[in-house]
Symmetry: D2
Subunit: 141 residues, 4 copies
């Protein structure tokens, strides 16, 4: 089992420096072997008519959670970029926080491939599911 | 050739009523047969380190542009929902407006399927490409 | 927990009648609540240079396994059709049987959405992963 | 405009050597700048009940057509592999040949990204649409 290179506090510190705009929006709840759990704090800006969370917000969480799972495994690399995401929206979330459970299925030399299941706090069934591919920068040296 | 049910000004008025949060962010530039063009105004909130536009912003534009193309064809239906989106990120956008060109490939009784090509203003090659499926509410009566 | 409407022997009998061309190629190994496991027998026709299994074969198994998981839940409906599939190819399979583990994430009135993880017999890590959407025919009466 | 490195006859000869199993099944009809057109000959093996062509056959054509468009641009590289495909099935094909129109949207150092529109001969509207990513082997030397 491959262990993450970064601890949860190292991940939080790195994000805080590199993506200060995520402060207060995305909270890293757990980091593990090839996995991460991230909470998205839902406020007025993320809501749609009818008291549900917008699709782009669910996408943003999936993208962020998978980035964090990959970051924890490969170390401080702010250069990884999403190359592909396929997302299915399955149920309407409530006007509450979203939780993204990310799992890496393949961590290769140039690509990280995996999935994120998105939950609306308090609902048992997932509201969305995404598969993502991140391009990983080649190692220097 | 199927003509849109709504004119561009009817689309703009409908969006302004139903999605007031899009005001100043998304501008409908054109509506045609099975197609639409939407501009996303890029400000500080959409930027990432290095002066590029975030992936979730490109997703938000693709989602919005395809919604508008579908809305114009089927009429005022705020209930359509995205069921699936697959997006490829191909180039880094500059810190300028994004333009989404949406095209419906199939408009069926229950699904609208199509693609959106996303451009960064002033670049010839697209920065992202998405295929989307929207669920269309059944006609009453 | 929703139970399947059809037993494994009912599923096998139905497939044998409706898709006789799958005989000897696809074997239903298990059917459960919102899930199924299907084995694809690999012969010369499915191999590519280098002794690996072709991408279209992995796609065919994913499509078949998800169809069977859905069929078992909704009953004999040969009319369900795939509307979307996003598949990631992650590792080279060996020249041996493939196994597809299908799981339904949402079974709605008109759509069945889920995922299939594809394994090459004897390898621990998956060789491919697909998310699929099937359109389910409306109930008569 | 980038020109293909291989002519149509060079592409045909290469395929014939490397993928002899495609003989009589896939016919390269055109090769151009970042594009290709491939015909799939439909016989009994590709048909489903009701006289339509199976989903896996449409996938196989999309995969093959995009491979050929990429091959023509980068030269004889049998090592390129599909990493991702998202395909939407939109209409039922007739029991006739399929035609795949491939277009590369980005040809980078390590990835080729593009789309294939699949037509059923004699129908104006496409029956399927796929976006694909191919991993391209690094240049030697």
């Amino acid at each position: 089992m491959r262990e993450p290179l970064l601890s949860i506090s190292e991940v939080r510190e790195f994000l805080d420096n590199v993506f200060p705009q995520m402060r207060g929006l995305m909270e890293v709840e757990a980091v593990g072997s090839m996995s991460a759990r991230v909470r998205m704090k839902i406020g007025e800006a993320e809501l749609r008519p009818g008291g549900t969370v917008s699709g782009p917000s669910m996408f943003a969480l999936a993208d962020c959670a998978f980035y964090i799972a990959t970051l924890a495994m490969i170390g401080r690399e702010s250069l990884t970029v999403t190359t592909n995401c396929s997302i299915n929206f399955m149920r309407k979330p409530g006007p509450v926080d979203l939780i993204g459970e990310a799992r890496i299925m393949k961590l290769g030399r140039s690509l990280s491939v995996g999935e994120v299941t998105v939950f609306s706090e308090g609902m048992e069934e997932p509201v969305a599911h995404a598969t993502l591919t991140y391009s990983v920068p080649p190692k220097k040296g």
